[in-house]
Every structure is written in C-alpha cells, then in structure tokens.
Amino acid sequence: MSAALQLDDVRLAYEGADGLHTVVEGFSLSLDAGRIGCLLGPSGCGKTTVLRAIAGFEPLRAGRIRLGERLLSSATVHLPPEERRVGMMFQEYALFPHLTAAQNVGFGLRRLPQPEQRARVAEMLALVGLAESGGRYPHELSGGQQQRIALARALAPSPALLLLDEPFSNLDAATRERLTVEVREILKAAGQTAVLVTHNEAEAQAMADHIGLMHNGRLTRWTA
C-alpha cells in the first residue's frame, strides 16, 4: 500500500579527496499518500541526490526519512534498499539486457508463488499497454516501450513509494507529451505515492500535484 513520505532536516554529503562536500542541507518535505511530488531544478542542484537517499543509495549525515510508520534513514539508521519497499524508474531505464520484458517485470516478484507471479506480470504488462510484448528483449523495444516496461517493473511489487529519475529525458518531444499524461493516469489509478525529479518545467506541471523548486541543495519553494 502507498504510504506518506516525510523528510526532516536532511543533510547529504560526499567524501572527496579534500574532505566532506555538502550537497544537500536542511531539506524537509512531506507528501501525503497517493500524491505525486516533483523536485524541479537545474542539474547539479542536488535533486537526484535526494532521490538516491530516499532509495537507500546515499547515507544521511543528519535528519530523518520516514515512509508511513517506518524510519528508512537517519544519521544512525540505514535500511538496505531491498527492504525499503521503494520502487524506482531510472533515467536510462536500467532494464536487465539478458531478460525478456516479462522476466524484467517479474524480477521483484520472486517471493510470490509461480501462478500469482504470472498473473501479476500479465496485469502489469496490460496496464502499460504492452500485453503482447512480454517475450521481447529490451533491445527489441523502442525507447517509449522500454520506458513503460521500466514503469511496469517498478510498480509490480506494489512499492509503498515510486521514485522517477528524469523519466522522460530520453524520449522525443511527441512521445514525452503523450507518456507524461499516460504515466500520471496509471499512477493515479493505482493510488501510488510518487516523487519525480526533472529539470523540465512543463513535465513537472503535467505530472505533479506538488512542485518543489530546488536550488543549491535547498528546497526554495513547495507549492500545493
């Protein structure tokens, strides 16, 4: 089930050769269950780092990240990515090249019994409109189709939160416009809490319920 996301006073930094570099500081936001939030800002503003911290790829230097009732990260707590129930759609899709579209979608369903896995994969493929393409390999799919498989794969295990990292940046303008509407409809139908990261304002307007403007590692505005 989708859950509410809460970030309190988060600080993120990376270790360089000459000490610690702070990338994000004093970052707080809250997003109700079922809502779509968007972090909008130029490249290098720290929005992708925030996303990676929610996914569990970056340790927190300070602050807290909560999802529903669960504490995901703090300066002392770090739940491993596979235990967070957070799904992610990557900028380059990150489809496994050695698996078919259906096997990609089913990758995170190993704990379900076989028949349920098959049913869920079929359901997700139908949801993204690619019911016929399950047997194809990623390189046999168009960019837009790969993107939809990546979405189906991220949604299949019913994550409590879905993260989307510049999900439309590799598509041509026409496909992008069509898919933003489609993806929003799919997320809304599923009641999915989601956080989107982009530098494209039109995309943010079309997709999100709330838009946060980011600048130099800080949230400068959060609109309802």
């Binding site: 770090h78 990515p81 596979e82 799904g87 900028q91 995170g108």
Partner: protein, 546 residues
C-alpha cells in the same frame, strides 16, 4: 550502497594472502636457514647461472623488440600481399610453448636431421663431418628459439599502439623535413615506448619462467638451477636462495611493466584519423611480405608442420597411442579443469569484493594487486615458495586424519593451487573489465526490487558476465594445459601431464610420442589465439592486470 559483506571481504583478503604466502615463505627459507649454503652457491652455481640468465634475457629482449616492433610497424604503414592474414597470423607463435619449439627444432636441425641433410644434399656433401650448421645447443641458439616464439607479446602491444596513433603527427613530422624513417624514430617509436615496455616485460617474464627450452638447449639458467638444486640435491634452502635472486629480476620487470602501463594512457588519449597503410609495389612488396612471414614461419609454421609430420608418421607406423600417453592426456584435462574452476571462482570473489568496496579505495587496490601478482612469479619460484607452507599443512592434516603421507600434495591440490595463483590475473582482469561495463543502475534496480547483494550477483551480474568468464576460463584452461615448471616440481608421484611427458622424452633424448603430446598442447593453444585475433588486437592487452 552498503559495502560488501564481511564474508566476501574476508575471502578476498584470504586469496590475496594465499598469493603472497609463497613469496614470504621464500624469504624466510632463504634468509632464516643455514647461511653456509650461500658460500657454496655463491661460488659455484649462482655466478654462471646469473650470467646465463642475464645474457638470455638481454638477447631475447633485443630480438623480440626488433621482430615485434618491426612487424607491427610494417603491417601498420605498408600494404603488401598477405598483409591481412599476417596481421593476425603474427600472433600464432603464442600457441607454441617455449619447450615445444625447442623440442621441435632440436630434431629438425639435428646434424642428421631433415634441414641439415637437405643443405648437404644441395651443396653436394655426403657426411655431417664435411658440413654442419653451428650447434643449436648454445646461447645464440636459445636466444633465437625463445625470441621467435615470444616476439608476439611486443607485436601485440606495439600494433595496438600504432593503430591508435594519430596520422597527423606523422604528417606534421614530414612537413618539418623528416623522411619516413626519421618520422618513425622521432615520433612513432617514442610514442609507442610505454607499450613496448609492457610487451617486453611480458616476454622477458616468460623467458624467466621457461625451464624446458633452456634445459634442452643446455643453458644453465637460474630457473634450471632452482630445479636441479631441489630435485637432484634436495637442497630446499639453496633452491630458495636462487629463487630469491630471480625475484629481484621479477620485481625489476614488473616495475618496467607498471611504468609502461602508467604512460600508455597518454598515448591513446586522442582518437584521431589513424595511419593509412601505403600500397607497396614490385620487389618492395614481396620483400615486405617475406620479412613479415619469416617470424610466423620460424615461430609457428615450421615447428607445427614438424609435429604434424611426426605424429602422422607415428600413427601410420601402427604405433598407435600408448596407454601412458592417454593417461597423461586425462591427467592434463583433469588438472586444467580443476585449475580453471578454482581460478575463476577465486577471480570472481576478488573482482566482486574489489568492486563492492569501491575500486578507488586503497585497501581494495592493494587486495587486487596482491591477488593478481602471481602471473609474474616464474613457476619454479612459485613452486619452491609453496613447498614449505604446503608440507606444513600436509603434516598437520596427516596428523589430524591419523594417516601417513602427504594428503594435499598427493591429491594434486598443491599443484592446482600453484597454477591458480599463477593464472589468477587473467580472470580477475577480465571479470573486472566486464563488471565495469555493467551500469550501476542495474544493480540498484535489482536491490530496489527486493534482491540482496548476493542475489543480485547471481541473477544480474553472473548472466551478464558470462562472456568475460568464458574468455577468462579458456585462457586459464589452456595455460594450465601448457604449464611445465610448477607441474614438474609439485605433481604427485607417477602423475604425468602432456607437458611433463614431453619433457621426460626430450630429456631422455627419445623422440617417440613427444610429438603427439606437443601437437595436442599446440592445438589447444590455438583457441585463445583465435579468440585474441577475433576480438581485435587490443583486447588481450587490456585484460592483463593493471
């Protein structure tokens, strides 16, 4: 991302320590033991063996540089009949182990053998007493034999370098008044110097590793001295002392190689229009063709044809294949399979642990360096170094199992470990390169879909690494089949591989089934050369350790 689990890291550190164990044990043996041996060895064995080794290394070094660089340049800047075939055929001698080429030429060039007989017939002599070529069993003979099978190491690195050198640099030199030769010596050669250093050090490490060719040709090198000091005089401390002297040479060669690799990056940084070969005509074209064919003919075609001919003769005479030879073939395959499994598994652990710790951290780099050090250790040095720890473990185990004898040694486990140490660099290099090509997002996607680190390795990385693992396994398998010096010293009693079978026959001077054993080894050795030729000349160079 959470760092690698403690089990992986411990396994990786253990492997690195295992590789270092023989070196440490050598130092302890050589300096901790009875130093009175030093005087005997210092007076009677070391000076001559060291001088021979130095001469051999110097001679082979000059020859491989001349032949390897010359052929690489010829194939890069000139177009002549046969160039397309020679481009990869020049690699063929890599399939020919040094002890086999020496074995073949000893018979081919024997005073009453086919070559000298033909020359006498042509000149009208009828007795070896009237005419004979200088004896192959000499320092020049050994240099020629080793040089013509080891030049591909230089050819390979030089060719890869020349292929990526931008043409406009050469053209600039020409407009500044240099002729073609001047441009080569002032531009192309200095730019290729780091690559040549890498190829040269690899060829010289092979020279140092060689035991069969120098022994057959009667050159008492340090390697041969280690072997005889231990086998015939049972003097382990003495053998360890000579092995330590060899380690000094090894360290120098590895430093040369590392130096070359550090500077190689600048050379290939700019990717510009490559040098276009110029079409040669008439006599020049044929001269170029002959010049580039000669090394292949000497280093591969002639000995291979000899082995084929001898094998055919033997089989036609109804001799068949003896049970002993068949048993050696089975032993060889079993040994190679065991070594391949061990080495690939260890390589996977090291490469994965290093990647997960972040390959830029000092500790990870140190581990990878230590684990892949073995390629530089000559087989005899490695074997002598392993003997003490292995014998210690064996007596411990025998005590625990309440059994007589040497359980690890007699099961061949020590031999498998020695080969695995020597060949670990190949799969580690290949798997590291393969891992680097897998985008980190795939790993992150898998973790977010609920898969653990180990599960991600199994379900995502292993399937994607299959080509890299297969290539590494093939290289290790073939090298284990060919391995002679460590096998001679560490094999269980009455255990013969094709290589030791051949060695025994050549040492006895009986040329019975040696050719069949040699032919099997060369045929297997052709597989990685084909892989190398198909993947382009640069690929193998990158797979070697950094």
């Amino acid at each position: 991302m959470k760092p690698v689990g403690p089990v992986w890291r411990a396994a990786s550190i253990l492997i690195a320590l295992g590789v270092l164990a023989p070196v440490l044990s050598l130092a302890w043996l050589a300096f901790g033991a009875d130093l009175s041996h030093w005087t005997h060895l210092a007076r009677h064995v070391l000076p001559q063996a060291a001088l021979n080794t130095a001469l051999l290394l110097a001679g082979v070094g000059v020859l491989v540089l001349l032949v390897g660089t010359g052929c690489a340049w010829l194939v890069t800047v000139c177009d002549f009949p046969g160039r397309r075939v020679l481009h990869w055929a020049l690699l063929l001698p890599l399939a020919m182990p040094t002890y086999i080429v020496a074995f073949a030429y000893l018979d081919l060039l024997h005073p009453i053998g086919p070559v000298q007989g033909a020359i006498r017939w042509a000149l009208g002599f009828d007795s070896p007493r009237q005419f004979r070529l200088p004896d192959l069993r000499s320092m020049p003979g050994a240099i020629l034999v080793l040089g013509f099978v080891l030049y591909p190491y230089v050819y390979m690195t030089a060719r890869a370098m020349f292929m990526t050198q931008p043409a406009h640099l050469m053209e600039a030199a020409r407009t500044l008044g240099e002729n073609a030769a001047g441009a080569f010596f002032r531009i192309a050669l200095p730019l290729a110097r780091p690559a040549l250093a890498v190829g040269l050090s690899l060829a010289l490490l092979e020279t140092l590793n060689d035991i069969g060719a120098s022994e057959f040709l009667g050159i008492q090198t340090l390697t041969v001295a280690v072997y005889t000091t231990w086998i015939t005089r049972s003097d382990l401390a003495g053998a360890a002392q000579i092995a330590c002297a060899m380690l000094v040479v090894v360290v120098a060669l590895v430093l040369l190689e590392r130096h070359g690799r550090r500077h190689q990056r600048f050379g290939s940084a700019q990717r510009m229009r490559a040098i276009e070969p110029r079409r040669l005509h008439g006599a020049a074209a044929w001269l170029a063709c002959i010049a580039a064919t000669l090394p292949v003919a000497i280093g591969f075609v002639a000995p291979a044809l000899y082995l084929l001919w001898e094998t055919a003769k033997r089989l036609r005479l109804g001799g068949g294949i003896s049970d002993g030879l068949l048993a050696s073939l089975g032993n060889t395959l079993a040994l190679a399979a065991g070594v391949t499994l061990t080495t690939v598994a260890a390589g996977l652990v090291v490469a994965w642990a290093v990647r997960s710790q972040g390959s830029t951290t000092n500790r990870a780099r140190w581990q990878a360096r230590a684990a892949t050090l073995g390629y530089a250790l000559p087989g005899t040095v490695l074997a002598i170094g392993l003997l003490t720890p292995a014998l210690g473990l064996d007596s411990l185990l025998a005590g625990l199992l309440r059994r007589e004898g040497l359980p690890l040694m007699s099961a061949g486990i020590v031999l498998v470990v020695a080969c695995a140490i020597r060949f670990l660099a190949m799969p580690v290099g290949g798997i590291e390169a393969g891992l680097a090509r897998i985008p980190p997002a795939l790993e992150q996607a898998s973790r977010l879909l609920g898969e653990s680190a180990a599960g991600t390795l199994r379900r995502v990385h292993l399937p994607l690494l299959r080509p890299a693992i297969a290539a590494g396994a093939l290289l290790v398998f073939v090298d284990a089949m060919k391995e002679l010096p460590a096998t001679l010293l560490l094999r269980p009693a009455n255990f013969d591989t094709l290589a030791t079978w051949l060695y025994a026959e050549a040492a006895r001077g009986t040329y019975e089934e040696g050719a069949i054993a040699a032919l099997a080894i060369v045929a297997a050795g052709l597989l990685p050369v084909m892989l190398l030729a198909r993947n382009g000349l640069g690929a193998h160079v990158e797979e070697l350790p950094n």
